[in-house]
């Protein structure tokens, strides 16, 4: 509990209507998409960087935890106040400040919704590629803090590849501006990059400079069904081998196909074990060329049905259905451990074939889908009760060990947060972890920013 006097003095600093400590409001800011609730002591809605600086300075002096929150759409509990304190909501900082067409860049406040930025830049013939499944409601600030990926990462990379510069408030109230509206910058260490994926633990990101691209003129989308998982994965490496880098290659396993069918009309043979949703974009000529090669690769690798989608409505329907998979897993089981492991693309087959037996060994179901094109698969271990959860944690641990053994990482785009904290040592050595802790100490010596995340208790 924060003393009333503290709430009062924060109100004096940033405006009385910009802070609430009412129980009902606290409940509404106690969760994110990980679906676990931790009650904050207060929620603030600052409108500008200066107010955030004042707030952090006070919190730092008094040792009050502060947890930045975009849309609360993260999967690993990054936006929940695990140790109470203040939730810093960016809902009132949602302006697109400038889109610079001549320089292919944009400056935005962190509360801008990713999908709205997409629309705004696309209306000017520009393109911001990162497209996490939650793009219709997640925010740029959250994307930067988690280094969000998305389906277009195969060809275009992740959020990190588009962040040119930031404005960040440090816990002591200092405001820094790493990076510029330039595509190159090697003055000193990559401070900008350090904040990308920092999960709200190093500073509060208050402004983002983004790189844009010209909008690809057209796209082509394929939905292909396979009788064997291994054939679908061979297709992925085959396409790369033929010198084609599609903008998206998504894998959907048998369990997830059922969920997709609820959101899009798809007709595939009954014995289908895997779907690939492949898309490429570019000029008409380039897309025609890559389309031909992708189609022949699908045929050669044994696809049992191939749909070529060209109508925008249909393409949109297919992607909507793909994005609905993760939340609709709740139709199969009450809870899930939603992982985002990544392996080198040629090790995907080895990883996937390991997941099902591991789940089975623990008498659990496993549902796999995700970004086959960049080796990033959402392995979901489904469970219903406490007892099953313990077994699910064991299964996840085994899957993560296998991932690291195959040369991969335990998280490609969701971050560590709370969810993966128990597993971080599987991947990071003591030396690496100690460097991370020291970095954290440089920025946030009093550990007020998003405490309880990333680092396992010593």
């Amino acid at each position: 509990m924060l003393p009333k006097t503290v709430i009062h003095s924060i109100g004096n600093l940033i405006g009385k209507d910009k802070i609430t400590a009412e129980k009902e409001d606290l409940v509404c800011y106690s969760y994110d998409a990980m679906n676990q609730s931790f009650m904050p002591d207060a929620v603030v809605f600052p409108e500008n960087t200066q107010d955030i600086a004042k707030l952090l300075k006070l919190a730092n002096e008094q040792g009050i935890p502060v947890v930045p929150r975009g849309a609360g759409s993260g999967q690993t509990g990054g936006a929940v106040p695990a140790q109470g304190g203040i939730v810093l909501s960016f809902e009132d900082m949602r302006k697109i400040i400038r889109i610079n067409r001549e320089n292919l860049s944009a400056i935005v406040e962190p509360g801008v919704i990713t999908g709205e930025l997409h629309k705004a830049v696309e209306s000017l013939g520009l393109f911001y590629p990162p497209d996490p499944a939650s793009l219709d409601f997640c925010t740029i600030g959250g994307n930067v803090a988690e280094n969000a990926g998305g389906v277009r990462a195969v060809k275009y990379g992740v959020t990190r590849d588009y962040v040119l510069g930031l404005e960040v408030v440090l816990p002591d109230g200092r405001i820094i501006n790493p990076g510029h509206e330039t595509v190159k910058d090697v003055a000193g260490y990559d401070l900008t990059g350090l904040f990308v994926g920092s999960e709200g633990t190093l500073g509060a990101i208050t402004r983002v400079i983004l790189k844009l691209l010209p909008k690809p003129r057209t796209k082509i989308t394929f939905l292909a069904a396979f009788r064997r998982v291994v054939d679908s994965l061979n297709t992925v490496t085959k396409i790369f081998g033929l010198g084609i880098l599609p903008s998206a290659i998504e894998f959907i396993d048998r369990t997830c196909i059922k969920l997709v069918k609820e959101h899009a009309k798809i007709s595939v043979p009954d014995e289908t074990e895997a779907l690939l949703l492949i898309e490429d974009d570019g000029s008409e000529e380039a897309v025609r060329f890559s389309g031909t090669i992708i189609e022949s690769a699908l045929k050669n690798c044994g696809a049992s049905s191939i749909e070529k989608a060209v109508m925008p409505d249909r393409i949109q329907e297919l992607w909507r259905a793909r994005r609905a998979i993760s939340p609709s897993l709740a139709k199969i089981s009450r809870h899930k451990l939603n992982e985002d492991v990544v392996v080198p693309r040629n090790q995907l087959s080895a990883l996937l074939s390991a997941t099902y037996p591991i789940a089975e060994k623990h008498s659990l179901t496993c549902a796999n889908f995700g970004h086959a094109g960049d080796g990033n698969i959402h392995v979901n271990i489904l469970y219903n009760d406490k007892n099953e959860k313990e077994r699910a944690m064991l299964a996840v641990e085994e899957i993560m060990k296998k991932t690291v053994e195959l040369g991969g990482t335990i998280t490609g785009e969701h971050g560590i947060g709370l969810a993966k904290k128990p597993f971080i040592k599987i991947e990071l050595s003591d030396a690496e972890l100690s460097i991370l802790r020291k970095i954290k100490g440089v920025f946030d010596p009093n550990n007020i920013l998003n405490p309880g995340k990333i680092f396992p208790e010593a």
Binding site: E24, D25, D32, A33, F45, S134, D136, P327, S328
Partner: protein, 395 residues
């Protein structure tokens, strides 16, 4: 499973992903977590499973829902937020007495003397409106539709169509009902317009008065079934979705469930009937050139109809220009528009400006509630665009 158990089950189905934010017209205005379904569900959970007393900080967000069902469309798990809101509103109604004007309106609508009241109101309205400058509403008609029409008009076909006018298309827009009557007569079926049809009960249900809604539903079901119709046709999307979607819902897990479901199967929107009779003579383009269609929430998400009206309009020779977010709510929501006029009008101005940007001459729609709301918005924006019920264009 009755509606109360259903609400608790629906709460459990929410995985807190946040996808409802993008869909909800209210959260766009209030810009806080409690504006969207995820927050409203968290608050409902506090009350329904946590036993928290309903404070104003719970009541207001629960009231600030248009029941437009946009969030349900956006939700991968189709969490029925509307059922949760209705049950929560019943709890609110039990704990707090309703504001007088709303209690009165609902009392009148539910009463069998509603006709008399509306007649009286039609004389009083010019004086009353003077004191209600916040919102503009069209006048109450001097001659309601139902009293001036025969209860049964024989046709040459062995098919019986029952026309359910609903309050607004009877008392405020009788010309819409007249247009519906004209079209339905052309089908050659025997046409029934029951004199004893009661309010559908949606205004009561949306305020959580589930009991009155049930009573009205039972009355309507028994009145209409006594005429043994083959189909029940509406020209008001709100009434339509009440009859078709919510009657079965409110009687879930009760002895009336089966008959409510059987009844709901007969209910259909008039655009569907017209589409199913391709030979029906429709009035061709009458001077307006371009139309943009606003999908009422209760038509698209309530009854699953959105292609039919468009096909009818283009079939009648109009050029259709789609507006952005044609299926987003207009912000009416019945008493919502009175109780939260600022939010309602914020949503409305977005709708009107989307419609205007198409450059169309007319906004067509098929719900008198939307018509009232958009009429007000058009008036405020000073726009020249007109708002019409689709039947006024094709009948």
């Amino acid at each position: 499973m009755n509606i109360y158990k259903l609400a608790s089950e629906e709460i459990l189905k929410c995985v807190k992903c946040g996808a409802c934010r993008n869909a909800c017209p209210v959260v766009r205005e209030v810009n806080r977590e409690h504006g969207m379904a995820r927050g409203k569900i968290a608050l409902s959970d506090m009350v329904l499973s946590g036993g928290t007393a309903i404070s104003d900080r719970i009541r207001v967000p629960i009231e600030q829902c248009l029941l437009c069902r946009s969030c349900i469309d956006a939700c991968a798990n189709s969490v029925n937020t509307d059922s949760i809101m209705i049950v929560m509103r019943e709890l609110i109604a039990r704990e707090k007495s309703r504001p007088l004007h709303i209690a009165l309106t609902n009392g009148i609508l539910a009463s069998r003397f509603s006709g008399v009241f509306f007649k009286m109101l039609s004389f009083m309205q010019p004086f009353v409106s003077h004191f209600l400058p916040v919102r503009f509403y069209p006048p109450i008609a001097k001659n309601p539709f139902i009293e001036n029409i025969n209860e049964i008009t024989e046709g040459h076909l062995d098919k019986r169509i029952l026309y359910y006018a609903g309050c607004l298309n009877n008392f405020i827009f009788p010309q819409i009902s007249a247009a519906a009557f004209k079209i339905l007569k052309n089908t050659g079926s025997t046409l029934i317009v029951p004199k004893k049809q009661a309010c559908c009960g949606l205004p009561h249900l949306s305020l959580g008065d589930i009991e009155t809604a049930k009573n009205l539903a039972l009355k309507n079901i028994s009145v209409m079934e006594s005429f043994r119709p083959d189909s029940i046709v509406v020209s008001c999307a709100s009434c339509g979705s009440m009859l078709k979607k919510y009657y079965p819902l409110i009687f879930r897990g009760t002895p009336h469930e089966e008959s409510a479901v059987a009844f709901s199967r007969m209910v259909t929107d008039i655009t569907e009937i017209i589409t199913a009779s391709p030979d029906m003579p429709l009035r061709k383009n009458n001077g307006y050139k371009t139309i943009t269609f606003h999908d009422p929430c209760h038509l698209k998400r309530g009854m699953g109809i959105f292609k039919q009206p468009r096909n009818l309009l283009t079939g009648a020779g109009y050029e259709l220009r789609e507006m952005e977010d044609s299926d987003s709510c207009c912000g009416f929501g019945g008493t919502f528009s009175l109780k939260y006029p600022e939010i309602s009008m914020g949503i409305l101005s977005r709708k009107v400006s989307n419609a205007e940007s198409t450059g169309a001459d007319v906004i067509a729609t098929s719900c008198p509630g939307c018509i009232m709301q958009i009429m007000d918005g058009v008036r405020r924006s000073g726009s020249k665009i007109r708002i019409k019920h689709i039947l006024e264009l094709i009948a």
